[in-house]
């Protein structure tokens, strides 16, 4: 026993070094599973506050650009208003079901919430955004984050007033997307090279793709509403080893100056997940 104490005293610094090293690596490895941990929330809350202060200053310099983006988005949305279209006469079709409907008679699938971005990186391999809206304002994990120009990322962690978003520019981010022309589904990933470009995979070689084609979120994507802009085709690589194309996309979102984003919640997702998780019977 005495020898153990002597050993510990003698190599105390080395042991302390080892403990800190292991602690760092454990934190790093477990990061994706420990969102619930209290310290992570506290840390998120504190860094979020500091980021918010800094952002108040930074925000001022982007006012002009923000105005332009909002104007463009408004125009786009106004173009989608129902009053712009004449619909077919559907008065004689009677629909009977018991699902929840809002007063306009539509079944709600997505709810949108605005949020301000207080921190954003593009230079790392694992990029995150911090937004000023958290669990108390109704943010949950896996909610989709969409900027005025297109897809931004997914919520991975929330504290009371702030949330952390995994940017599209993250080595682990995957967004289910499709070519707007022909609705061919594929996956969008980031290879870590250039924040202007992401990669679209799993598009069969039989599909005719041209430079400049739009790529939007697919209808299979659960957290993203479909037809949200992801990017435009910039370059097409013919991978000789497989039957699929590798397509480089120019991102729709300019990740350098995101100021405001929308968070989208799929309110029917729980039901879908329950159904998909249930074991299949009667087959």
């Amino acid at each position: 026993m005495k020898n153990i104490f002597i050993f510990i005293r003698r190599y105390f610094n080395f042991l302390f070094f080892l403990v800190l090293q292991i602690l760092s690596l454990v934190l790093l490895v477990n990061y994706n599973e420990t969102h619930e941990a209290v310290y992570a929330r506290v840390a998120n809350e504190i860094t979020g506050r500091i980021n918010g202060q800094y952002n108040n200053v930074q925000n001022y310099f982007h006012l002009k650009e923000n105005n332009r983006l909002l104007l463009e988005e408004n125009t786009r949305l106004k173009n989608m208003l129902h009053t712009n279209f004449e619909s077919a006469d559907s008065a004689r079709i009677i629909a009977l079901d018991s699902t929840v409907r809002d007063t306009a008679g539509h079944q709600r699938k997505y709810t949108w919430l605005p949020a301000k971005v207080v921190n954003n990186t593009v230079s790392q391999q694992l990029n995150y955004l911090t937004i000023h809206r958290g669990a108390s304002q109704g943010i949950k994990r896996d909610m989709a984050v969409i900027g005025p120009q297109g897809v931004v990322g997914t919520v991975i962690e929330t504290s009371e007033n702030y949330s952390r978003v995994m940017s599209l520019l993250h080595r682990n981010s995957k967004v289910s997307s499709m070519l707007k022309k022909g609705n061919v589904p594929g996956t969008v990933e980031w290879d870590g090279r250039d924040p202007h470009y992401v990669t679209l995979k799993n598009i069969p070689k039989s599909v005719a793709v041209a430079k400049g084609d739009s790529v939007v979120t697919s209808s299979y994507s659960a957290n993203f509403p479909s037809d949200i802009m992801v990017g435009t085709v910039d370059m097409i690589f013919n991978d000789p080893g497989s039957n699929f194309l590798v397509i480089r996309l120019k991102t729709a979102t300019n990740f350098y100056n995101i100021e405001y984003v929308n968070l989208v919640e799929n309110v029917q997702w729980d039901e879908q997940r329950r159904l998909e998780a249930a074991p299949v019977r009667n087959q």
Binding site: L20, V26, L27, L28, T121, Q124, Y128, R171, P195
Partner: protein, 177 residues
């Protein structure tokens, strides 16, 4: 200004510069990530105990990590260079008793060649270990080699500029004063 106050201000300054200036810069290339914050560890006084050196280094790394959203990624290399620092300082100090006469490592206290080597070695170790951890998560060998060398180069340039801009006047301390 006492050493403690000076180092607390320095700590905040290095974190803010790293988070709000260097990490916000548009990247030149995939391999180039500008890092400067670990210079804080190299500038800590000679007299600091090894235990507090490790603790302070861990605190610095983990603070940066929580800003960048990667807990542990920067803390691990910081702790490593903090652990190795006393050994290298002992080897490099040529002047007899320099660690008693000067407060902290600098060009003035150690001489330009030993100080340059000191910075070079620790910059390299820091980036080597940092990119190694990153590489284990993803990437290929070319990524590893390229990123270590490019990032080390950029960091050395930044440290050189910092040393020129914020020239640290070091008082020569004697027992007689």
């Amino acid at each position: 200004m006492s050493l403690l106050v000076k180092n607390i201000i320095r700590f905040i300054f290095f974190i803010l510069v790293q988070v709000y200036v260097l990490s916000q810069m548009p990247p030149l290339h995939q391999f180039i990530t500008p890092y400067l914050y670990f210079l804080f560890i190299l500038w800590l006084p000679f007299t600091i105990s090894r235990f507090s050196l490790l603790a302070v280094a861990f605190l610095l790394g983990i603070t940066l990590d929580y800003f960048l959203g990667t807990p542990g990624l920067h803390a691990a290399p910081c702790v490593l260079i903090a652990y190795l620092r006393p050994f290298l300082i002992n080897v490099l100090i040529s002047k007899e008793g320099a660690e008693l006469n000067y407060a902290e490592p600098s060009i003035r206290s150690m001489g330009i060649a030993p100080y340059g080597l000191y910075v070079l070695v620790f910059t390299f170790i820091h980036h080597f270990y940092l990119v190694l951890i990153e590489w284990l998560q993803f990437g290929n060998f070319l990524y590893f080699i390229g990123k270590v060398s490019a990032t080390t180069g950029v960091s050395l340039l930044l440290i050189f500029i910092t040393e020129m801009l914020f020239f640290r006047k070091q008082k020569f301390r004697t027992n007689t004063a």
